[in-house]
């Protein structure tokens, strides 16, 4: 009798557990990069140089296929590596403000560059998307200056300040459109100015859309490099300075990785490298062999690291650049062309090889930039 009761009880419990074991796989946890192991022949371990990438607020260094945690115990994001490769700019994000920090490549904090916390919470500031200038002496970033007459209008502008200086020396580069989010993601070009993403309200579609803009100097008239309908953002300049990678959505939920030639003043036709995904943060390999980006498989899932191999760009057309102004090879060494050249139609470039998924179950922070240096 006791045995029968035990069988009955086991049947009931077993049924309960059986149903419970068939729940949907809807909340699979990501692993930490430290748990990820890659063999010496894996695509991840064949990546050149050193990469800095963020997962859940921890900054990791990827070298030879191995991840090492550099900064944790806070929410760290958006690393940028110095031209020398010897230091990093990183954003430390707190509950309602964020600050820029200078750290060495071992993850030791060297200096806090901004002090954005205030007793009055509404006087706190955000600082995001830091980038070194080509000579490493300046930092460009996005910062929300306060509107004294309208505290509801919080918009980001592009600022510049000395890496070893104070915010009192900061200079404002751009004037954002109110109530749009503003100007983000600066890429300093040396004498050519700054490329950045500008958010503007598009009357035609009744939406806020993003465009990649170029401004040559503080106070100069900026101009768009992409059209509003393309909704492009997250520009990333190739090490040779001749190609720009972008994320474009066309106002949809799909975010494509696109690439276009860049002559220092204008973009050529855009080529879609990866479409139909939620792709983010395209970042060029330091040897120009391709670019990495973050995306889930399909439209949902963990944001993994992918590598898109790319052939070298075709040689520049002789008519595009005046003879006395060589085509910029590096952003910092480039000089402005005498006359901006319009995008020139070119034959369709060859289809690049398929992108390679480098990681699984890691779920990197897709709003954080990736830094990569040889």
């Amino acid at each position: 009798m006791l045995l029968t009761a035990a069988v009955w009880a086991a049947t009931g419990a077993g049924t309960y557990l059986y149903i419970g074991s068939h729940r949907g796989t809807i909340a699979a946890q990501a692993r930490t990069p430290g748990e990820a192991r890659s063999g010496s022949s894996s695509p991840l371990s064949r990546l050149p140089g050193t990469m800095y990438i963020v997962q859940q607020g921890t900054l990791y260094r990827l070298q030879g296929g191995a991840f090492t945690a550099l900064l944790q115990s806070a929410t760290w994001t958006q690393p940028a590596v110095a031209p020398s490769g010897q230091s990093l700019l990183v954003v430390r994000r707190d509950y309602d403000f964020s600050d820029l920090y200078l750290v060495d490549t071992a993850g030791h904090v060297q200096a806090q560059l901004t002090h954005d916390a205030n007793r009055n919470v509404q006087l706190n500031h955000w600082a995001f998307y830091p980038r070194f200038s080509a000579d490493g002496g300046q930092v460009f970033f996005s910062y929300d200056a306060k509107d004294r007459f309208n505290s509801y209008d919080v918009v980001l502008s592009i600022y510049q300040m000395p890496v070893r200086g104070s915010f009192g020396q900061a200079r404002k580069w751009t004037t954002p459109e109110p109530y749009t989010g503003g100007d983000l993601q600066p890429i300093p070009l040396g004498p050519l100015g700054v490329i950045y993403t500008k958010y503007t309200f598009d009357q035609a579609t009744n939406r806020i859309l993003s465009q990649v803009w170029l401004t040559s100097r503080i106070g100069a008239v900026s101009r768009p490099l992409t059209d509003a309908a393309a909704d492009c953002s997250q520009p990333s300049l190739a090490p040779d300075g001749r190609r720009l990678a972008l994320i474009c959505t066309g106002g949809t939920q799909f975010a494509s990785v696109e690439v276009a030639s860049f002559d220092g003043a204008s973009l050529g036709p855009r080529q879609v490298l990866v479409g139909g995904q939620l792709a983010a943060q395209p970042t060029w390999a330091p040897d120009d062999s391709g670019l990495v980006y973050l995306a889930p498989q399909g439209l949902s899932g963990h944001f993994e690291l992918w590598f898109q191999p790319l052939p070298p760009p075709p040689p520049p057309t002789p008519t595009a650049v005046p003879a006395n102004s060589p085509t910029p090879r590096r952003a910092g060494a480039a000089r402005p062309t005498a006359t901006p050249s319009p995008p020139t139609p070119s034959p369709s470039p060859p289809r690049p090889p398929a992108a390679i998924q480098l990681t699984t179950d890691l779920d990197f922070d897709a709003t954080s930039t990736i830094a990569w240096h040889l």
């Binding site: 309960y16 809807i26 509950y95 505290s151 939920q253 439209l299």
Partner: protein, 325 residues
């Protein structure tokens, strides 16, 4: 007792034990089904402003198109329980045969006559008369039938999104707000905090998704921008819901607690299964039409000292009739 009888008792015991296991597993669903779901959606059956009796709801016919009113509310302590404003009202027309969904966001500041009398912002309809009056008002003003409704408290939305493992979406622009209500994390219902949702593709947990859909102070489109963001998160949620199966229901019900009410009957597993199957079949963006009442549909004004949106019924009604009947 002969061995045949003993065997029969044993087998019946096995059957009953298995059923008890099933019942125990789904008990939270059954309890929630009676307490929170299967509630009346039709305004004509009850409520302060009974409308003419309606024919059989279209939703009763499987495969026929039906209209759902989605409502999301602040559920903070500024309001008495269940007398909260609706931050979000979205009409959703589902056409299973055409595999097409149309979403229309109703601005919370829309100044409309209420079913049962009076004129006010439409977000007060739920506060004044619950789902019944909110539905009656929508039906009365927009000239459509609402077959079902779903009401979710904002904390419930956070829990649901977290249970589903977050949502993945492309945020269209930076959402910055220095006066975002901090009522979820704080005991002070009037507390504010700063939020910054950065743009681009990303994964969001429940709290950050709520910040994205709820912020409105720094959006040039004001409530319309927020409506677009709400529709966007709904579509991202739909992608996640494809992975849900009936075994998830007890845990989902547990996450909601009292933050969820609906006229859908959770015990109608066949219907739920067909709805989940339909969600998995709607994969192309062209299958979803998103409508916002900007431009010619509304105009800003001040009434009784309140900033309101006045409806232009001459443009709204044809749009609604075209898409929701």
């Amino acid at each position: 007792m002969g061995w045949r009888s003993a065997l029969a008792v044993f087998l019946i015991g096995i059957l009953v034990s298995g059923l008890c296991g099933i019942l125990a597993y789904f008990l939270p669903v059954v309890a929630a089904a009676y307490a929170q779901t299967g509630q009346q959606a039709r305004s004509g059956r009850a409520g302060p402003a009974p409308l003419p009796a309606a024919p059989t709801p279209a939703s009763a016919i499987r495969g026929a198109a039906f209209t759902v009113l989605l409502m999301g509310s602040d559920d903070d302590s500024k309001f008495p329980s269940d007398a909260v404003l609706t931050q979000s009202m979205i009409l959703v027309r589902v056409d299973p045969a055409a595999r097409h969904v149309t979403m229309l966001s109703i601005p919370r500041d829309l100044w409309v006559p209420f079913a049962g009398g009076g004129t006010a912002k439409i977000d007060a309809a739920y506060a004044l008369g619950g789902a019944t009056r909110a539905i009656a008002t929508v039906e009365h003003d927009f000239g459509i039938r609402v077959d079902e409704y779903v009401w979710v408290g904002l904390k419930g939305l956070i829990k649901l999104i977290d249970y589903l493992g977050g949502v993945d979406l492309t945020t269209a622009n930076p959402v910055l707000d220095d006066f975002y209500p901090a009522d979820v994390e704080s005991t002070d219902p009037y507390a504010y905090k700063r939020v910054a949702v950065l743009p681009g593709p990303q994964h969001m947990d429940g709290l950050h998704a709520l910040e994205y859909v709820r912020s409105r102070h720094d959006d040039i489109q004001e409530d319309f921008g927020r409506s677009q963001r709400q529709q966007q998160v709904l579509l991202a949620l739909r992608t996640k819901v494809r992975n849900v199966n009936p075994s998830d229901l007890p845990a989902i019900v547990a996450t909601f607690n009292a933050e969820f009410k609906t006229s859908f009957n959770l015990l109608d597993l066949g219907r739920l299964r067909s709805l989940l199957a339909l969600a998995s079949q709607i994969t192309d963006p062209s299958q979803v039409e998103q409508l916002i009442l900007t431009g010619d549909y509304t105009s800003s004004s001040v009434v009784d000292g309140q900033d309101v949106l006045l409806p232009n019924w001459n443009t709204i009604l044809p749009l609604v009739q075209k898409n929701f009947t």
